[in-house]
Symmetry: C2
Subunit: 351 residues, 2 copies
């Protein structure tokens, strides 16, 4: 089950409870299912020994996107990126897309085609084929469900449960940007005006952050590269927020972790935004989901090889912590050298 998105809403059902219940009841062991419910994507194998990786994501209007702040093409792009990111986190290559779509009676053909245009724009660099889908009317706004099918090298896939004590924790790119972008989009106009007057955030930084929210890039090439070279012992994509996704790795791998807050990779734009709004940028980085960066663990003897190779390939990576025994729990080391337990601050819409 792909983790849920980040806008907070309330329900009596908690997704992770549900995943546990479904896993217990329906995740029957069978040789053809390499990985079932509970990772970024499912992995199945065929008689010929090929491994297929499958993932599905559902985006709902008012929960995952807001038509007042995003175009249909943006929404399509982001929906595809979220799915691509799940395949990236397994080290796989995406191939085929199925799209199930429900839209209100007020939607026009142009809206629908723009949504597809956005989706296919995110898919084009990966030469993904749209092979089918379903469309339906909706009495309750837009619902977009994507299923992406890919392949991964047999006996080689990145799972959440491979982290070992002593492994280093890495993250690609910068984190917190997408949350900053979302916050910028949701600022009331008055506030925007006040801030623009004081010119605390440049147009370039503003555009960068909003772009990171609306048009995120899934780290497909990076995931494949980590996988084929055997660099990573475990991996996940950051969709719930670093804090929440780290928890998934630790729970699945039965380990603890220490995150070095001063090492978190922050973009200049994210720092400038945080300074202008008097926010702690570490908070944005720890809780912000939907950056779609990869979070992964690397064994000590692979660290040097990884860092050298990442320079050659131009893949930005940052070491942000270390894996500890399970009893250590999830801890953060602050700038001042103080340790504190990581709160379960990931956003889900079922908390």
């Amino acid at each position: 089950m792909a983790p849920t998105y980040r806008l907070k809403t309330r329900s009596t059902v908690h997704e992770f409870d549900l995943i546990h219940a479904l896993r217990k009841q329906y995740n029957l062991r069978t040789p053809s299912v390499i990985r079932g419910i509970g990772d970024d994507a499912a992995v199945i194998t065929s008689k010929a020994g090929q491994w297929t990786v499958l993932t599905t994501d559902l985006l709902t209007e008012g929960i995952h996107f807001d038509l007042r702040t995003a175009t249909m093409a943006d929404i399509g792009f982001r929906a595809a990126a979220a799915n691509l990111s799940d395949i990236a986190a397994m080290g796989g290559t995406p191939h085929y897309l199925l799209v199930a779509l429900a839209f209100p009676r007020t939607a026009s053909k142009q809206h629908v085609l723009q949504l597809y245009r956005g989706m296919m724009a995110a898919c084009r660099p990966h030469r993904i084929r749209l092979i089918g889908g379903d469309t339906s009317a909706s009495n309750g706004g837009w619902f977009i469900s994507l299923t992406l099918i890919g392949t991964v090298l047999p006996r080689k896939a990145l799972f959440r449960n491979g982290a070992q004590i002593g492994d280093s924790l890495y993250v690609t790119g910068t984190i917190g940007d997408a949350l900053a972008g979302l916050k910028l989009l949701n600022e009331p106009p008055a506030r925007v005006k006040r801030h623009s007057r004081t010119a605390t955030l440049s147009v370039r930084h503003r555009q960068f952050l909003i772009g990171r929210h609306l048009r995120p890039t899934a780290r497909v090439a990076e995931g494949q590269w980590l996988n084929t070279h055997g660099f990573a012992t475990s991996a996940i994509d950051i969709s719930d927020g670093l804090s929440g996704d780290l928890r998934h790795i630790c729970e699945e791998s039965h380990v603890g972790v220490e995150v070095n807050l001063s090492a978190l990779p922050l973009s200049p734009a994210c720092r400038a935004y945080a300074a202008s709004r008097k926010l702690d940028p570490m908070n944005l980085a720890m809780t912000g989901g939907e950056d779609y960066e990869l979070l992964f663990t690397v064994s000590p003897h692979q660290r040097r090889r990884l860092e050298r190779a990442s320079l050659t390939r131009g893949f930005p990576l940052t070491c942000i912590g270390e894996i500890h025994p399970s009893r250590f729990g999830l801890q953060a080391l602050s700038h001042q050298g103080k340790r504190h337990r990581l709160a379960n601050t990931s956003y889900t819409h079922f908390t």
Copy 2:
């Protein structure tokens, strides 16, 4: 794209327009996609030559189901049956299920688990594995999106486009039952009372028809059998209604058809219902979708072999017409020997 369901609603977008637009724009020819947008399911092939069949369906509250007349388990069962039927119509074997689910904040864990229970009840005879999914909150009722993955014999799959002039048209089981069941569920209580007083429809017939609507059986074994024996030249499942699904076969195969109305297989319950409500049972059979029976064409020299084999296997089949040249169009032959053109009476929610 799987055909849409049958409750009538209005929108400015017509699904079939959309399918044509998407086909034109994104259905790029590539050797690995055997069948893309526009059939019951997609078929892809791998390097090892295996054929995978994939289908996705989206069900939305108030459009495809009504929580006042169906339990969560019924809804789950029917959602799974609709997907199973798409695989059946290709002659495939279903293996894996992905479920994307959005539900309102008022939903309880029990509701969600009952929905899964219904889905898995429909899947159990086929030993299908639930391998993943996604859940989300919804501001607009329940949305259920299922993706089913199966296999089909390489170079052997039933498509919509293989019907030849002179082929006979067959249908499995009986048709019109599901629509009668839906109508029974939607009758206002006063009407039910009046009818129950006159006892024109037995409880057994009523239960049969409602069961055919709420718990339809996908013809998976029949589809596989038709496919492995090479009996069928084309096939589709009846989800839009005989009239609409026949149109799909004729359009894709570039042929016309004559349907013999007096041959349509009607259940005793459907006949009794039609008589009690003063309806034409032929109308129920022609326009009623969601029976999930298979509609297929058979070449003249296979007819005898097919009919003999169906008796041995106990698969109920009925010959209901014949394929004609395209210029013949779609015609129905009535009891009185009169011919009339088939109206495009299939229900879609985008007409």
